[in-house]
Symmetry: C2
Subunit: 260 residues, 2 copies
DNA sequence: ACCTGAACACCGTTCAAGT
DNA sequence: ACCTGAACACCGTTCAAGT
């Protein structure tokens, strides 16, 4: 009756679910015992698979970290999709993208640290090429999403490119700023620096400066972006309190399942 | 005749020199075999000390990486000193600071990657508290140097703080931007992204945007900062071609040695 | 007081045997 | 075709013995 529920697919689905379960466990270990506490022994002990199977999923310990960073990027992408759906002018939508980035780094500090760690040469050197490729693809897609908003802004005239500047460049600068602010804040805090500063505020402020510097209209002086930020925050809170996490965890379910 | 050349000092000097030699070797290994290729075995094999002595200097393998990051910060500090000596208005001096940061990341990619790696939780967790403290102190000093220029700008009126903003915040944003741009560029390049972009140009551009966004006078439209960048570059090239590297490598020599 | 390197322990990775 | 876990190998860390 079911139109041949393809065995291969359901098998690979199971495989994917197991991999997700393993990554969940890895996160748990990272949270409990820190990054130094993550060992393949501990991971197998907590899981229900043997070491061999673990290595069937991940080519090395570092590959686990890269896999977690891929997961992070996928979640970021989900948030970016929501951000792009925000109703407002182009600069507000760009603000929404930054909000998504910040929200993720605040809600998932461990995963965000995976993003930082996976950008490290020692980890990249020992990760599987396939996983690195997957990450590259995702990162490209995210940057493309950033460029979408920039192109919109160019189209509606709220932003003008100085001659000799590529859109790519603006996307990179935004990405770098977001990464720098969110990535540096945690370690510097840990070192005891910037005790007086609040992440969210610094973030909003730095984005305002960046966009104003790009000449992105309306400028901060002519618009209440603090209010926009709050509206964006509410939008996210609403959207995330409801279903969506389902579609996130098993993006393939829609193919696999059939209405009864 | 010599006013008691203190034995303790000369001993600790020798110790310091040996530590520098070990760090030089570690760099060599990192360059040749990558970060995954750095092992304590390999380091002792290349050096003339035993493992025990190596561990007498560094509490762990990760401590070696943190030590390299401390070294990096010390060199950055040297460059920052030069930058602050640049003759020009406050925004140009701030540009000089960014130039120093960029110059370092370009001239010493391996050391810069150490800076990135040492900010990683896995490394911090296994580094000695003393070394982490040393790093924190240096990082504070560097940020203070950034704040110096900001305060100058506030004093001469070329920069105005919006109410409710701390100078610290501006210093952090600058630091984050510089870190983000320089740190992300290398890994993203390695992943094959941004093949068309040139680091130096992106850097200058991002700094212009940042300073313009802060409203730091004169704005980019009213001043040729490309020319300033080149003048700064020349200044660095001149200063660095001459002595100074001596005083850098052995900052204590001036105390220890006596004219014959 | 400091150095040595053999010994130890932990942990990442593999692979022959099993289902 | 996939799973298992004992075995292996590498490498980080220690410490008893030496100077």
């Amino acid at each position: 009756m079911c139109p041949q529920p393809p065995l291969q697919t359901s098998r690979s689905l199971a495989r994917q679910q197991r991999e997700q379960a393993l990554l969940k466990l890895a996160q748990q270990v990272l949270r409990q015992d820190g990054f130094a506490g993550l060992t393949m022994d501990r991971l197998t002990a907590l899981s229900e698979v043997s070491k061999g199977t673990l290595y069937n999923h991940f080519s090395s310990k570092e590959d686990v970290l890269t896999a977690l960073s891929v997961d992070s990027l996928e979640r970021l992408q989900q948030l970016f999709r929501l951000a792009l759906g925000f109703t407002g002018h182009s600069r507000e939508r760009a603000l929404a993208l930054h909000h998504a980035y910040h929200r993720f780094s605040a809600a998932e500090p461990t995963l965000f640290l995976c993003l930082l760690t996976a950008a490290t040469p020692g980890v990249m050197e020992k990760s599987s090429p396939q996983r690195l490729q997957r990450r590259q693809k995702l990162e490209t897609e995210l940057l493309t999403m950033c460029q979408t908003v920039l192109l919109d802004a160019l189209a509606d005239g709220s932003l003008t490119l100085p001659s000799g500047t590529a859109v790519e460049q603006y996307a990179f600068i935004n990405w770098a700023m977001a990464f720098g602010c969110n990535a540096l804040f945690m370690p510097l805090r840990q070192l005891g620096l910037f005790a007086g500063l609040e992440v969210g505020q610094v973030n909003i402020h730095s984005i305002s400066i960046l966009f104003d510097g790009m000449g992105w209209l309306p400028l901060a002086a002519d618009w209440d972006y603090q209010a926009s930020w709050q509206r964006i925050d509410q939008m996210f809170s609403q959207q995330l309190s409801t279903p969506m996490s389902d579609t996130f965890i098993h993006p393939m379910l829609s193919n696999a399942q059939e209405p009864a």
